[in-house]
């Protein structure tokens, strides 16, 4: 592997600029003639817009324009799309309501954008936004998904009767019902998966520039996928054709899914720059604005039951889920409670019969879409809470119940689409139990009891699907795009290498890990390798970074392009050295003929490619290759997490005494970075389990709308984590990688709740297990 190759703990190249304050995030960019946008937002969860009076605002100092939704749609700006078509079980397509970037007739959540003010300074824009007088006819709002389905509930969109977007199913219901008939035991649960706010610490931002002479736009934006942003802004929102729009996602301060989508603000800033005849418009969200405009995550309620035979083998699993999608369908919203969720309901277990029904509903809340894990945390939470609860009810050891039901032969076809390609769940389970000293837990429990504290332990054997995804497969399931990735390797005449990738790094360290592939292949030092990403003018196309796909898909594309570069370099070297191509070896920056002392330095071969003085007959000069990689299957990271807690029954305060993660991510390029991904994911999962909750009041105001009320995990809430990995190679991609970005957030919530419910002795505990909720659960008893 070399000191900078595959498997090495290479320190990050990108760090220098971040630790010295030289990072360049969107809001750090300034251009001459820059104006500012401030949005006028609905204070009501549901209302009809009666009138927008912007006369006073228009006359305020510095204001160059006040625009509303009628002007926006009048200019032909298209409605915001959802890119994944889901059909209900009756075959009808999903009932999608219209979403204009600025509301035209109705507002449907607090924060819905109604108008925008463009002014010379931010202060002027904000002052004028306050002066825009919007009169509303306030309508009844509905917040909870269950309530939205009730007769007489307020209706959000004429397209969606009873607020139902689709009523979808997966699996064989009749077979599953039959399996339950033969069951010795059935375990039932009601489970709510709390709504979260992603909270990347960099708030979203957009800087839209318009060059009137060229009729050309440039957008700097906080995006995980600038190429998708350009495609959608062009093809669907008609902001500008692709050749007239450059999208740059510079340094981005965390995404976690929330920066995948193309939000109203980017669309409006681009459109308004041209409309107001200004050179550029910048908008950056306040945190308060972020809370009510960034897509939220999760928010499922489910009824689940699992059937067991007399030997405790699982016979069937049946789930009925209602998913709250918020006021509008965001870009990938429909895929989350369907193909990213219900396809994982087999967990790590051999379950012959599964059926899941999902009703997805509109409510007067912020749109819900992908957030770290996206559907898979909801599935893992259901499966692993169910396994733990079943073990308690069946009176068997939770680890043994899991072992008994593990999938042990691969490939394994589940009844819910996925075919697991490789894994070894027992090895992860054993590793986690050993690291946690599971065997001696009872001793520790007694020690806690002597102090008046309740100690509990819980595990979670999660599986997830990432490396999203084979284009044909997702196409058949309704995706509007292919989910391949592209790469280009440019070898310069002096032998340095540029990797152009369609993946985007917003914390994942691609500038380091992607370079490791080149170091590994050609033995070049990392300073000779540059990763270029995030600019549609530089990289031809790409699908971006989400769903833990940059390794398994993005790096596979790089490997493919490197194969082509290596192939051509070898041909050139063979020609120059008068040897056979098959005998050429590239190692440590040298290109040699095996078994001889004939060799060239790497840069001599590269220079040869560009001088073109002595190339094989018919070969084009240059050394630059591109590749598109389309995966053959999803990848299936899996592992076992164990959480041990101590509860103070007097206050409900829960401290995490230890948290163990044993993951199988397949091949690992840089263990340091992988561990960091697990730490961060686990912290977000613990956040969901114990702290975070997007809470609305009945009128639709988000109450937990700042860090004063939305509990973000802080350093003193968390322990140091015990992280380890095991390895089964993924057979589906050239490197054997599975992906590691989301696992922590997927596997940890059930482990935490299993531990706390173990400590308090019953299951009657809502998530998040805040001090108040734990205290109330201890008080209430079972």
């Amino acid at each position: 592997m070399g000191i900078e190759g595959i498997g090495a703990r290479v320190l990050r190249k990108e760090d220098k600029r971040f630790i010295t304050g030289q990072g360049r995030y969107t809001d750090d960019h300034k251009v001459a003639g820059m104006h500012y946008a401030a949005f006028v937002r609905s204070p009501h969860a549901h209302a009809k817009i009666k009138k927008i009076n912007s006369k006073a605002a228009n006359q305020m100092p510095g204001v160059v324009g006040v625009f509303d939704g009628k002007q926006l749609t009048g200019d032909g700006i298209g409605n915001i799309i959802c890119g994944w078509m889901i059909h209900s079980k009756d075959g009808s397509p999903m009932n999608m309501g219209a979403w204009s970037a600025l509301a035209t007739e109705y507002v449907r959540y607090v924060g819905d954008a109604v108008a925008v003010v463009i002014a010379e300074t931010l202060a002027e824009a904000k002052a004028a936004a306050e002066a825009v007088d919007v009169s509303y006819k306030v309508l009844k709002a509905v917040i909870n998904a269950e309530d939205a389905l009730k007769d007489g509930a307020p209706q959000l969109h004429p397209e969606a009767k009873n607020n139902t977007i689709f009523d979808w199913e997966i699996g064989d219901e009749a077979a599953t019902d039959a399996a339950f008939k033969g069951a010795a035991n059935v375990v039932e649960m009601d489970i709510r998966n709390n709504r979260l706010v992603p909270n990347a610490i960099e708030p979203r931002s957009a800087l839209a520039e318009y060059d009137a002479a060229e009729d050309h736009f440039t957008l700097h934006t906080t995006s995980q996928n600038p190429h998708v942003a350009r495609l959608v802004l062009s093809a669907f929102y008609q902001v500008a054709p692709e050749n007239k729009l450059r999208v740059i996602a510079p340094d981005v301060g965390g995404g976690f899914g929330s920066k995948i989508y193309i939000y109203p603000e980017e669309i409006v800033c681009l459109w308004a720059a041209k409309k107001a005849r200004v050179k550029a418009i910048k908008w950056t969200a306040d945190r308060s604005e972020a809370f009510i405009t960034d897509a939220h995550g999760r928010d499922h309620v489910s009824k689940a039951k699992m059937a067991f035979d007399a030997d405790n083998r699982i016979l069937g699993f049946k789930i009925d889920t209602i998913a709250n999608i918020g006021a509008y369908m965001s870009l990938f919203s429909s895929s989350v409670p369907t193909y990213l969720y219900a396809t994982l309901l087999s967990g790590q277990y051999n379950i012959a019969n599964i059926h899941c029904n999902v009703r997805t509903v509109y409510t007067n809340t912020v749109p819900v879409d992908v957030y770290r894990g996206a559907g898979r945390p909801e599935a893992a939470f259901l499966v692993e809470r169910m396994m733990e609860t079943a073990a308690r009810q069946l009176d068997v050891d939770p680890a043994e119940l899991r072992r008994l039901n593990f999938v042990r032969e691969f490939p394994h076809q589940t009844p819910v689409i996925f075919c697991y390609d490789a894994g070894d769940y027992e090895t992860s389970l054993n590793a986690a139990m050993e690291a946690a000293d599971y065997a001696n837990f009872e001793k520790r429990r007694k020690r806690s009891a002597r102090k008046g504290k309740l100690r509990g332990i819980g595990m979670s054997c999660y599986i997830e699907a990432c490396g999203i995804a084979p284009s044909a497969a997702v196409g058949s399931l309704g995706a509007g795009v292919g989910l391949w990735e592209s790469a280009e390797i440019r070898v310069n005449p002096v032998g340095t290498v540029e990797i152009l990738t369609g993946s985007h790094s917003h914390g994942q360290g691609h500038e380091t890990t992607f370079g490791q592939l080149v170091s590994d292949r050609f033995g070049l030092p990392s300073e000779n390798v540059q990763v270029i990403h995030g600019d549609t003018d530089k990289v031809q196309f790409g699908m971006g970074t989400y769903g833990s796909r940059s390794g398994a898909v993005g790096m596979s594309a790089i490997e493919k392009a490197l194969d082509k570069v290596e192939d051509k370099a070898k041909k050139i070297a063979a020609h120059m050295l008068e040897a056979s191509e098959g005998d050429i070896e590239i190692k440590d920056g040298e290109v040699s003929v095996k078994g001889t002392d004939k060799k060239l330095l790497w840069h001599e071969v590269c220079l040869g490619a560009y001088t073109g003085h002595n190339l094989p007959e018919g070969m084009e000069p240059g050394l630059k290759e591109g590749a598109f990689y389309d995966p053959t299957n999803f990848t299936f990271p899996a592992g076992c997490y164990i959480c041990e807690v101590e509860v103070d029954p007097d206050t409900g305060t829960t401290t995490i005494e230890q948290f163990v993660a044993a993951d199988d991510f397949g091949k690992i390029i840089n263990p340091m970075i992988v561990e960091g991904q697990v730490h961060g994911g686990v912290a977000q999962g613990i956040g969901q389990a114990m702290m975070e909750n997007a809470e609305y009041d009945d009128s639709g105001q988000l109450i937990s709308a700042s860090y004063m009320d939305y509990t973000m995990p802080r350093a003193d809430d968390l322990p140091s984590f015990k992280v380890s990995t095991t390895e089964t190679l993924c057979p589906g991609n050239p490197l054997g990688m599975k992906g590691c970005g989301e696992a922590g957030a997927i596997g940890s919530p059930p482990a935490v709740i299993n531990a706390i419910t173990n400590a308090i002795g019953h299951n009657n505990l809502p998530m998040p297990a805040s001090p108040h909720n734990v205290w109330a659960a201890v008080q209430a008893g079972e």
């Binding site: 995030y25 202060a123 708030p203 914390g507 960091g676 968390l718």
Partner: protein, 163 residues
């Protein structure tokens, strides 16, 4: 509107700014020191931490006029040209950052922590002292390691200087 003068990273600076201008905006907008970030509007996240007269403060919760006459240090001025402060180095060596957005505030708070409490910091102390700095990427695990290592390195530097 007032003329505000303050020393920033060792240099005398001035600008005509409105009285309502926050220190963070003075630094970012007037002085183009964009290493200091804004991550919230309730003085909680700590992305904006700078040192004013040697003490860590949240520059989003101080007016530029309040800081007039002060000596301000930002992440850009923590170390000399082309050098890294031991705490910066420790963050890199211990993978104490991912997206990098909270990092300048983290490092400024970490240096302040060592200045106040000395170079020997327990894990519990570091975690408690980080109450005012929120990170969404790292789960704090490697930040805590980085600060412990950076503190130790600063301690060595202090000892050396004393000798």
């Amino acid at each position: 509107m007032a003329k505000v003068e303050m020393t920033v990273n060792g240099r005398m600076t001035s600008a005509n700014v409105e009285d309502r201008t926050l220190l963070v905006d003075y630094l970012r907008e007037e002085k183009n020191l964009t290493g200091t970030h804004v991550g919230c509007d309730t003085s909680q996240c700590g992305a904006c931490v700078v040192h004013v007269d040697g003490k860590a403060v949240k520059s989003c919760t101080v007016l530029a006029v309040q800081a007039a006459g002060s000596d301000v240090r930002t992440i850009e001025g923590l170390a000399g040209d082309d050098q890294l402060h031991p705490m910066q180095e420790a963050f890199r060596n211990n993978h104490g950052l991912q997206c990098g957005f909270c990092t300048p505030g983290m490092i400024m708070s970490a240096v302040d922590m060592v200045n106040r409490l000395g170079p020997k910091l327990s894990e519990a102390t570091i975690r408690a002292e980080l109450e005012g700095n929120i990170c969404r990427c790292t789960g704090y695990h490697n930040i805590v390691k980085s600060i412990a290592a950076g503190a130790k390195a600063m301690g060595k530097g202090m000892k050396k200087a004393a000798e």
